[in-house]
């Protein structure tokens, strides 16, 4: 399991961990039922405090991405990928609507917006 932590990022470290594990699960790289490292081992490997990985795992559990069995460790939970995709799409739609509204305010055309999106997407 590859996780890269940035100490200079504005995003708190526990969020960096949850987001990366989430994407690994959503991308299918971590399959359902796979054991993930214990939070203490992960803390050691990432050279961060235990409480940070603990918080990351708690958030992942709350969101239903992983589950823990006392004495055995944590595992990737069963994912209803369709539902998650649907949810994500909805969020994206909302965000794009906001972008469009903002663009209209300053008179940015659709082509210009597409161009901007293209540049950012390929960055």
């Amino acid at each position: 399991m590859q996780i890269i932590i940035s100490n200079s990022s504005k995003e708190p470290i526990y969020e960096q961990i949850t987001n990366q594990i989430k994407s690994l699960i959503l991308a299918g790289e971590l399959q359902e039922g796979t054991a993930i490292p214990s939070m203490r081992n992960l803390a050691k490997d990432l050279q961060i405090s235990v409480i940070t990985t603990k918080r990351a795992y708690e958030e992942l559990e709350k969101a239903g991405f992983i589950y823990s069995i006392v004495g055995k460790g944590s595992f990737v939970a069963e994912q209803n990928l369709e539902v998650i995709r649907e949810k994500k799409l909805k969020v994206i739609e909302e965000q794009l609507s906001a972008v469009i509204a903002n663009s209209r305010e300053i008179g940015l055309s659709l082509d210009e917006l597409k161009e901007l999106l293209k540049i950012l997407y390929e960055e």
């Binding site: 708190p12 526990y14 214990s38 203490r40 081992n41 803390a43 050691k44 050279q47 961060i48 405090s49 235990v50 409480i51 940070t52 918080r55």
Partner: protein
């Protein structure tokens, strides 16, 4: 039992110095970093935990036990590392081990020699010929060889070079993989804590300012920067201390939400490092 160490209302007065009403809990399985300026009361608090001094008032409990009735049981479960060598200077490590080992029921020679090898410590040279780093390693090897549940360290990194400091942090992190170990250590080098501390206890002028998880510290404390004209008697209440310069002000808040409500987008709010927090508290607490 969640708390390995529990200090309740601990007060100890000396001539010209005192620690007052310290309430401090150290949580099992985590690393608590104990910060404060020199002379703030860190060593006195640690000595209270080790029963090297008895408080004038208050209660001290380790593993839920009282020193009055369970002193030996408690100390069997503690490994200690102090700032500076406390072992007989003229003796070599082998002889020191011979003196210390029989005191512990669960002493394990195999573990001890493993650390001696890992730390590259000479067994037959007098301790007084050791460098500061080697003395620290020797103390650590002894502290870790009797399956202690609680490791108490007073300024273990003081006077050590950066490379060895990192090695020490690596080692402590390895110890934490076993969830039963608890580490409590004092330091005034706050960067040591950024990496491994789960909880931060901060002492200032003999009083405990806070004992919070690193997340709570990050969510409560922040630096606020803005123009001087934003400051007045009311808005200043959001701050622990304000530093004024002709170019603007910089202040520490212990309530990010309140600061956001008051100032909105007119100021810059940034993460406060432990050093920032210590520095601003030194200026004194402004509001009641």
């Amino acid at each position: 039992m969640e708390n390995v160490v529990e200090l309740k209302n601990v007060t100890k007065r000396f001539k010209g110095f005192s620690v007052n009403h310290i309430n401090l809990q150290v949580k099992r399985g985590f690393v608590t970093g104990f910060i404060g300026a020199n002379g703030a009361g860190k060593s006195t608090t640690i000595k209270t935990m080790m029963n090297l001094l008895r408080p004038d008032a208050g209660e001290v409990k380790l593993f839920g036990l009282d020193y009055k009735t369970h002193e030996k049981e408690i100390k069997q479960r503690i490994g200690f590392v102090y700032d500076g060598n406390i072992f007989f200077e003229g003796l070599n490590l082998k002889d020191i081990k011979r003196i210390v080992a029989p005191a512990y029921k669960r002493w394990d020679d195999t573990i001890f020699y493993q650390y001696v090898e890992q730390f590259e410590l000479p067994l037959n040279k007098a301790i007084k010929t050791f460098s500061k780093g080697m003395q620290m390693k020797a103390s650590l090897a002894i502290a870790l060889s009797h399956q202690a549940e609680l490791i108490i360290m007073d300024e273990p990194t003081a006077g050590l070079d950066p490379i060895f400091r990192r090695e020490l942090l690596d080692l402590l992190q390895e110890l934490m993989v076993d969830g039963n170990r608890t580490i409590f250590f004092s330091t005034h080098i706050t960067t040591d804590l950024d990496r491994i501390a789960d909880y931060i206890a901060f002492i200032q002028k003999g009083e405990l300012v806070f004992n919070q998880s690193i997340h709570d510290v990050a969510e409560n404390y922040a630096l606020v920067k803005g123009e001087l004209n934003l400051l007045d008697r009311d808005t200043e209440k959001a701050f622990v201390h304000v530093h004024r310069a002709s170019t603007g002000f910089e202040a520490l808040t212990d309530n990010i939400k309140a600061a956001k409500n008051i100032f909105g987008d007119t100021v810059i709010i940034e993460r406060a490092s432990l050093e920032d927090i210590m520095y601003y508290f030194k200026g004194g607490i402004h509001h009641a």
